[in-house]
Subunit: 261 residues, 3 copies
């Protein structure tokens, strides 16, 4: 058994996802196709990079992840195939590999150039179907990554806002994402906080100056409807409302400031 | 082949569902994962209970249903594994098993306590990934339910509004759910109606006092745009509009009254 | 391995899709179920016909496509099973087969009448579960299409707006669909345009009289935020905005006119 996962911004109303799955099943009849998400906001490369990074640790060696968030389709942007920690990613070189590339050991990286791995006819607007799906199918059938095309050592990397460690053991960051529950996911990791919490075990979390309280462990630790901060399941600091939506409650702007002090 | 189904309120924008699927595929490589729904309204335990109950009859023996609608994650609420009529459910003890427990024969029920069945590291906010997914994988690989933890005979049960059989053979209930088509699903079952219809074969259905007409068998029995009542595919009385949305047409309040008289 | 795909308007909030999948897995344990879409707009038969047509070429022989967009469920409308180019479709006879029937070689067509292929108890409102799912399962297990019921040569066909080839080599059509990205998909195919472009290689595309420019090959050929026209991955003329939504930009009415002149 081999797994091919899909992370796309195609939504599920159109024929795009169905076409990609058909190509994969046709070329790799033994592969299992796994829907991770097709609901990445259109063209939101950073969001796709984050989802890819945070599903990666849970998949077995040999899994092929196909990421089709590809606003530059048909332009000069390249398609890359990378192997990190025994798993593969097939994706446009537009930044979607940023976080996997930053955090996981790179084993091989190639540019998809050998057209024998593509569908015979390649459209200008749907490389997910015509290039990435057949490549994923062939990798899952055992094709060596060296057959993909020439090796490269260049990946386009998004510049991400990084948290600041300020004087007096204050850690300051921002909100990166809002999840389905309205939880606000910051760019401050458990690791980033280690030093602050060592020096200030009773540090409080602030969102745009409003105190949210100490760092809790789970949602039900505060009464229903009350805000709280915790380290979430991806090991990042998150601001939530127990039984509610922190996004609705706080409506943070794009440059919201999260501080732990 | 064994099936593991997923009923969650995670939506499909985030990494949550992808992480759960990865854990299952990693630990149970022969299992087939079936998406039932990830679009349960956040924290709507009753809706999940209803969906679980109404897919149950269609699955084969040995199927493992994982229900992750878990607002109390990390608190003292327990995780249960139950076997009913040859199928398994892995779910938090918050009421999501209510309808299966009421309607299907219980064969075994255990509290998930043996940490050897969990992931090595258990987060405080994502037991779907760290506890429920590995448990489901192990059950589908043939682990006995007795290895889950101590048996129990207690399940948290939601109190549901029950229909009233009133004098003069009037049956009165309320609206439980609105489905995707805007159909209004009541809490009055085919069985509840048997006596009323025996005494009053020409009984009419009323929604908040407005006559909807007799109980029909299918939507196209009335002209397009007209309302009707029928017994739906889950054997409950439903109010619909042929080719339209009864929810838009009637905009029923939470305490809407459905009568058959 | 055999594939059974699903195209429905059930959405993913309710139990409908889960019930269909259960029936299929129970009756065809070796089949792989592929979600194409459950998000067809309720009762939008034309949209389902289009999706079915444009995923078809990518699936292997023997695939069974189940289309449950069925507002007439329970009425006198028939359920058909067709084989076109080695693949099967199981669908109500309401027009969803229109485009497959128009474009692909018909090999066999039967009316689903033999009740031994249905579930023992057939509801009046959910033939997707009670008739189409078991039929698809049996076909994927190798049952001959001749066992479905009597052959027929009649399929209900939707009347589609067709583009006009006007004097002076002008091609005029309309917008059929808007996809997830807000791209406007017209009813003018690559083939329809061949003659116009031969006579007028520098022809421009107009939407309701507004010039969109020449036919490009990919989105990034114009600056971000600018409109463009191209032949899309289904070989139809499409109007888009690079990095944006043409639907938002132009808000075309239902009778919008697309011209190439």
């Amino acid at each position: 058994m081999s797994l091919i996962t899909l992370v796309t911004d195609f939504g599920t109303c159109d024929q795009y996802v169905g076409a990609i799955k058909g190509v994969i099943h046709q070329l790799a009849p033994k592969a299992t196709v796994v829907d991770i998400t097709h609901d990445i906001e259109p063209r939101n490369i950073l969001r796709a990079a984050f989802v890819l990074r945070h599903v990666w640790p849970w998949y077995p060696r040999g899994t092929v992840h196909v990421v089709v968030v590809d606003p530059g389709v048909g332009s000069a942007r390249q398609i890359l195939v990378g192997r990190y920690a025994g798993q593969y990613v097939v994706a446009p070189d537009n930044g979607v590999i940023t976080l996997v590339h930053r955090d996981l050991p790179l084993e091989a990286l190639c540019v998809a150039e050998d057209r024998r791995n593509f569908l015979p006819k390649v459209s200008a607007t749907f490389h997910g179907r015509d290039i990435m799906a057949p490549l994923a199918a062939k990798l899952s059938e055992g094709m060596s990554i060296t057959k993909v095309g020439p090796p490269t050592d260049h990946v386009k990397v998004l510049s991400l806002p990084t948290p600041d460690y300020r004087p007096e053991h204050v850690m300051a960051g921002t909100i990166l994402f809002v999840d389905r529950f309205g939880n606000l996911v910051s760019n401050i990791s458990r690791e980033d906080l280690a030093s602050t919490l060592r020096h200030r075990p009773s540090a409080q979390v602030y969102l745009d100056g409003v105190c949210i309280g100490p760092i809790r462990t789970h949602y039900a630790e505060v009464p229903s409807g009350k805000p709280l901060a915790l380290i979430d399941s991806t090991d990042y600091l998150e601001i939530a409302v127990n039984g509610g939506s922190a996004a609705e409650r706080f409506q943070p702007a794009g440059d919201a400031v999260v501080e732990v002090r």
